[in-house]
Amino acid sequence: MPGLITMDDLSNDEILAILDDAQRLLPVARGEVYLPLLQGKILGNLFFEPSTRTRMSFETAMKRLGGDVVNLGDVKTSSVVKGETLFDTIQMVDGYTDIIAMRHPRQGAAQYAQDAAKVPILNGGDGAGHHPTQTMLDLFTIQQAHGRLDGLKVVLAGDLRYGRTVHSLSHALTRFGCELVFASPSLLKMPSEIVTDLRAHGGNVTETEDLLGSIADADVVYMTRIQKERFADEDEYAKVAGAYKLHASNLEGAKEGMIIMHPLPRVDEIHPSVDATRHARYFEQAFNGVVARMALLCKLLNVGVPATINGGDA
């Protein structure tokens, strides 16, 4: 495979194999075992817009596996500000590196870069488009908690219109036969073309504005941040955002094994009281970004992950 632009680039079997690799790589991700599988390889980190977790976890993943990283650095001081096209930037970095991780504010940028590059591109987010490496770490987190991916009921809540993490994740979950509930204000509903696609692929999808009423029989509640700037005025924002906040007291009727996830950063949508509950998984989820990206880097660089890793009783 050339790169990972959308989840369509991976079959279900490939996804499960990568999650298996990730599971075995856990002690390496934790720094308990040094396994330089990617020694001599260089990752180009091209983040054309701000990123904390994605950029740092790619860098950590590469370094934990003995590889090296070169960064585009601040876009404001790079050749991009001089008007360089994405095509030219990619031509340059393609020559410097073995694989590229990229985030760009324009939708379709990752596919464009893949068409321009010889090395694999890992899409770390393109506008409101896709974020498949986030989806892989989300799937890993769900599998860790439930021991499976199929047949779960997953509530995706908050900004489903602009939230690229939920776009990629809902495609993947549909392929594994999960039931999806989209809980969002009407202004921030899942784009209709995505809902149509999911249903065309046999997806069991319902849409609602009632988050709290959807929690009781959910296996996963996936929260996202509602951004103020999406609303015409602050009063409207306050009214809408208030209905998409979770407090520990909202979880009393939830299933015991239900997990709450969030791609982070959170603002007010998950109250700190939730952190201490058995449902909170968002910090583990953020850590899983390292191990999922380690497995993806190995896959795209055609480096096999050993069947057993010393100290690998993960």
């Binding site: 464009y112 393109d126 506008g127 488009g129």
Partner: protein, 158 residues
């Protein structure tokens, strides 16, 4: 009303292109896609909503002294994929051209999504739209994946 009668609503042309079997009401759109407007120096005749055996009604356009190129034909595929195109030389049909809408439309129109990577005119890779369905016509950008609005696409001719 006969086919012959339809064609004679406007005078036969000596040289040029006849585009027949345009979906009724789409002739103006075809002209837009071909970039034929007031500033085009060539004479153009158009009939709209005339009877058609195949589709009930249809539009016909005759463009004098201009032969459509393959690129122009590709543009036509987006608005009138079943149109018949005849090149006329000295009053006779010299060539019949067929329009084939393949699985992708390349470098004909730009994606209509305002935040697509292809919005930057300096990006050199081709504009690519995938054909998802022919009837009704459904197109999606190869890069950003957004569905395309045909009304808007007409204004995005490359």
């Amino acid at each position: 009303m006969s086919q012959e009668h339809n064609m004679r609503r406007v005078t036969a042309i000596r040289n040029g292109t006849v585009i027949d079997h345009i979906p009724a009401g789409h002739a103006m759109r075809v002209l837009e896609m071909l970039g034929i407007n007031k500033s085009s120096a060539v004479p153009v005749s158009m009939v709209m909503n005339v009877p058609s055996k195949k589709k009930g009604t249809k539009d016909i356009i005759k463009v004098e002294d201009r032969e459509l190129t393959q690129d122009e034909l590709n543009r036509l595929a987006l608005v009138a994929p079943d149109a018949h195109v005849a090149i006329i030389r000295a009053y006779v049909v010299a060539e019949k051209l067929t329009i084939e809408l393949g699985s992708e439309v390349t470098n004909v129109v730009r994606c209509t999504f305002s935040n697509c990577i292809t919005i930057n005119p300096r990006e050199p890779l081709p504009h690519r739209l995938k054909v998802l369905s022919r009837e009704p016509l459904e197109l999606r950008c190869h890069y950003c994946g957004r569905p395309q609005d045909l009304e808007e696409l007409v204004r995005n001719v490359v």
